[in-house]
Symmetry: C2
Subunit: 335 residues, 2 copies
C-alpha cells in the first residue's frame, strides 16, 4: 500500500507547491502577490476553495439535468415499466443533485469562516512591519546621533508598537484556532450530512431497480403489464420520510473560543492599527459578519440557487418532480 507521509510537498519547499497550485491562479495570482506574506497562503487556499465549490455546483446541476433526461428517455421507450422506474429514479437522482448543490453552499459557508483568519493575518502584518521599521530606525540613529532627541520619541513609539503587536499576535492565534476549528467542523459536518442523505437516496434507488423485471423475452412475445406502480411510489415516500427524519448524530466539536473579549483589551493599545485587527482579541463575530462588505471584489462569490441552506427541506415525494428548464448560473467570478 502506498503509505502516506505528509500532504506537505517535501517539508516546506514551497516552490513545488507553487507550481502545483499556480495553475488555478492565472489571473488572480497578481492580486495574490499584493497580499502581505502572512496572509498569502490562506488567500490562495480560499481562492482554490472557489474552484471546489464550483465543481460541486456543476455536479449538482448536471445531475439534475441527467435526472430529467433519464425520465424523458424512459417515457420515449414506450415500455411502461422502464417509463415508471426511470421517472422515479430520476426523482432520486434529482435529489442527489440538490444535495450536491446544498453541499456546495455549506462549503461556501466554511470558506467564509476561513476569511476571518486571512483578514486577521492581513491586519497583523503592518503591526509587525511597523515595529521592525522602528527598531531599524532606532538602531541607525543610535549609531549616528546617540544624543538625538528624536531617539526618545522613537523609543516611546516602539514601546507602544510592542504593546500593539503583543495584542495583534494574541488576536491572531485566538482567531486562527477558533476559526480553523469552526471552518472544518462545518465542512466535516456538511460532508457527513451529504453522505448520509445520499446513502438514503441510493438505497431506495436500488429498491426501485429491483422492481424492474429484466428476464429476457423471446422475439414476438410481449412484456407483462408493470404491476409495481404503487410500490415504486411507496419507495419515494419512504425516501422522503427518511430524509425528513434525518438528524445529525455525532459528538460536538468542542470550542472554548467564546470568552468575553472585554477584559482582554488593554488601555494604551487602542491604536488605529489595533482597531483594524478583528474586533477583539478573542474575536467577536463582527469581523466575519461584515466580511462580505469588507472583502475585496475578487473574493466575492456570486452564488446561484438555494440562498438559505439552513432552511433546506427535502423535495423527494410520493409521485415525482417537475423541474423546469435548468437555469444556468452565470457565475462571473475571478478564478
Amino acid at each position: 500500500m502506498n503509505r502516506a507521509i505528509s500532504v506537505r510537498s517535501s517539508g516546506g519547499k514551497s516552490s513545488s507547491k507553487d507550481a502545483s497550485s499556480s495553475k488555478h491562479f492565472s489571473l488572480s495570482s497578481l492580486r495574490g502577490m499584493n497580499q502581505p506574506d502572512l496572509s498569502k497562503k490562506l488567500y490562495k487556499l480560499i481562492k482554490t476553495e472557489n474552484n471546489l465549490i464550483t465543481a460541486y455546483e456543476t455536479a449538482g446541476r448536471e445531475r439534475i439535468s441527467i435526472a430529467t433526461q433519464l425520465s424523458e428517455w424512459g417515457e420515449s421507450t414506450e415500455d411502461d415499466a422502464i417509463s415508471e422506474i426511470s421517472d422515479k429514479i430520476g426523482v432520486l437522482l434529482s435529489e442527489l443533485g440538490d444535495q450536491e448543490d446544498y453541499y456546495a453552499h455549506s462549503l461556501d459557508d466554511s470558506r467564509g469562516v476561513l476569511k476571518a483568519i486571512r483578514n486577521t493575518e492581513k491586519s497583523v502584518q503592518p503591526s509587525r512591519d511597523h515595529k521592525h521599521k522602528l527598531e531599524e530606525q532606532i538602531a541607525k540613529l543610535r549609531a549616528k546621533e546617540p544624543q538625538s532627541a528624536t531617539l526618545v520619541t522613537l523609543e516611546q513609539e516602539l514601546v507602544r508598537a510592542e504593546a500593539e503587536q503583543l495584542v495583534a499576535e494574541a488576536q491572531l492565534t485566538n482567531i486562527t484556532r477558533k476559526k480553523i476549528k469552526e471552518a472544518y467542523d462545518a465542512e466535516f459536518t456538511a460532508t457527513i450530512e451529504r453522505a448520509e442523505k445520499q446513502i438514503i437516496l441510493a438505497r431506495h434507488g436500488r429498491r426501485l431497480l429491483n422492481l424492474l423485471d429484466d428476464t429476457p423475452i423471446v422475439p414476438g412475445n410481449i412484456r407483462p403489464v408493470f404491476e409495481h406502480t404503487e410500490q415504486a411510489r411507496q419507495i419515494l415516500n419512504d425516501a422522503e420520510d427518511d430524509l425528513r427524519d434525518w438528524q445529525f448524530d455525532a459528538e460536538e466539536v468542542q470550542s472554548h473560543g467564546n470568552l468575553d473579549a472585554g477584559g482582554m483589551r488593554q488601555e494604551g493599545t487602542e491604536h488605529q492599527q489595533v482597531q483594524n485587527v478583528e474586533g477583539s482579541i478573542v474575536g467577536t463575530e463582527d469581523g466575519y459578519r461584515n466580511e462580505g462588505v469588507q472583502s475585496e471584489i475578487g473574493d466575492t462569490r456570486i452564488s446561484s440557487g438555494q440562498q438559505n441552506p439552513g432552511s433546506y427541506a427535502p423535495s423527494v415525494t410520493g409521485t415525482s418532480v417537475t423541474t423546469g428548464p435548468i437555469e444556468t448560473s452565470e457565475v462571473n467570478r475571478v478564478a
Copy 2:
C-alpha cells in the same frame, strides 16, 4: 414543502427540455442530430454524464490541492498545534478528494453500460426504417401495378424484415432492462461507497479538531506545548483501518438478464442487420466490452488518474501523505 410531481418537463413537451439541456451541447449537438431518433435522448444523456464526471474529477483534484495548501499554511503559522492538526486534516481531505476521483471513475463505468443500450437503439432504427420502407413500396406498387412480379419479391423481403424486426425489438427490450438495472445499480453502489468512506474520514476529522485547544490567550502569554501528536497520529491510523475494513453492505439488485442466449436466436433472422445488434437477444457482454473500440470519437473519455478502480486501496496512513505537484489532466474531450 415543494412537493415534487415528476422530473419530466410538463409531461413530454420536449421543447422545454431541449432548451434546458442544449447549453451542454454547443458543439456536439450537431453530431447528436445525426443520431437516429431512437437513440438521440440516450446519446445526449451519455454526453451530459461526461460533464458530471468531469465535475467530480475537478472536485477531487481541487480538494487534494486544498489539502496540501492547508498543511503548508499550518506549517507557516509556526504554531505547533495548528501545524500538526492542519497537516493531519490535510491527509483526510486529500483522501476525501481521492474518493471523489474514484467516484468519477465509477460513474464513468456506469456511463459505459448505458452505451450498450444506446448502441442497440441505434442499430434497431434501420431495421424499423427498412420494414416501413418496404411496406410503403408494396402499398404503392399494389395500387399501380397489382400484377407486378416485383410485388412477390418485395413481400418475401417484408416477411424477412418483419422477422428481423421482431428479433431487434426483443433484443432492444432485453438489453434495455438488463443494462439500465446494471448501470444504476453500479451508480447507486458507488454513491453508497463514496458516502460511507467519506463519513469515516469526516468523523475522524472531527476527532482531530477536538485535539486543538482554542481557549483564548491574553497578550504576552504563550501557548502551552502541543501534547496530542501521538493521538493525532492514532486518529489517522484509525481512519486508515476503518477504510480498509469497509465492506459494501446492502441487498443485491437482482438480475434475471443472464440467460443463455443460444436458444433464442432464430434461424433465418441472421441478417447482417441483426448481427449489428448486440451479440444476442438477451445481450452477451461482448457488445459492451468492445464498446470502447466501436464507439465514435466523440464518446471517448480520456481518463486521468486511477485506471483500475477495482484495485483501489485507501492511502490514509499513520503519519501523513506526500503529494507531489498535482498533475493537471488535460482532458481534450468534445463536450
